[in-house]
Amino acid sequence: MKAAVLVFPGINRERDMARTLELVSGAKPAMVWHADTALPAGTDLVVIPGGFSYGDYLRCGAIAARSPIMGAVRAHAAKGGLTLGVCNGFQILCEAELLPGVLMRNENLRFICRDVYLRVERSDTPFTRGYNAGQVIRVPVAHGEGNYIADGESIARLEGEGRVLFRYSSPDGMIDPNWNHNGAINAIAGIVNERGNVLGMMPHPENHVEAVLGVTDGRGLFAGLVEALERAA
């Protein structure tokens, strides 16, 4: 795996992400500054980490989505290159129109920082091959704007094409408003683009990968990506 982690001013989860990528893949990712215009040669995974790029000014992710490095990210994604956006990274991918929809203020107006349960909707993608379809994983969220919404047509397409990979659920996998912490439509926590190579998700799988923290449910996503890239090579 040759991963590149993008760094924007105000991003603060890039080191968690880099640590996890190295831990799971054995290779140190490249840290790529937002003002750069090219990714390191041979990059096979672009990761946009969480944080507060540009202080969430204007709209979360709006300014980062228009920074110089995003041209290279677009080209990478257009070639089918794997791209993962977590939390602010998901917001940036939506603002960059690499994913449909938008992340609105949480329904209850509160910043939510806690572990949540996610139901993995399918396992036949590079991002979820480390899980079983229907499996429930526990990972943390930390966001104020994670309430996913898109126009009716986009939602119908996402659902019809099986592009929702993660939903907020109860510990036993039930979809229920009480477990849909931020009010996202259809309890959507993570979606992929049409081609299936760009994933955006609000929760932080990179923070639950080490046994010392008690939960390692996030590891499957990264281990699956490593495996998918090895197979492709």
Binding site: L58, N106, N108, G183
Partner: protein, 114 residues
């Protein structure tokens, strides 16, 4: 916009008092004065606005009677170089489409106010 900087081009922003030049060259500085413009961004109808709802509730609890509903939006006051209003409107629409509004959830209105 590529307006010349004062002094870089003869007749632009340079005093022509006591000099000869083409008619009208003297007031070219005045023609370059900036215009004031405003872009207003509002949430599309049907999009849930939790912040507007919270403000609505706060107004009610403050005893401000008669508020039926509140939707929160954004206002951008922008200065535009030059005096071409049509061009300014095109530029503002570009700014709104490219950055100021997320047209998935927001509408915008541009006005050149003077």
């Amino acid at each position: 916009m590529n307006y010349p900087k004062p002094g870089l081009v003869p007749g632009f922003g340079v005093s022509r008092l006591g000099k000869t030049g083409p008619p009208g060259a003297r007031d070219s500085w005045h023609k370059r004065r900036n215009m004031k413009a405003r872009v207003t961004v509002t949430l599309k109808s049907g999009i849930l606005d939790p912040q507007g709802k919270a403000i609505e509730g706060a107004l009610r609890s403050l005893g401000v009677a008669g508020v039926a509903s509140v939707r929160q939006g954004k206002v951008f006051d922008i200065e535009i170089e030059g005096s071409d209003r049509a061009q300014a409107e095109t530029l503002l629409k570009q700014a709104a489409d490219k950055l100021l509004a997320n047209t998935v959830i927001e509408n915008y209105r541009v006005e050149v106010v003077g």
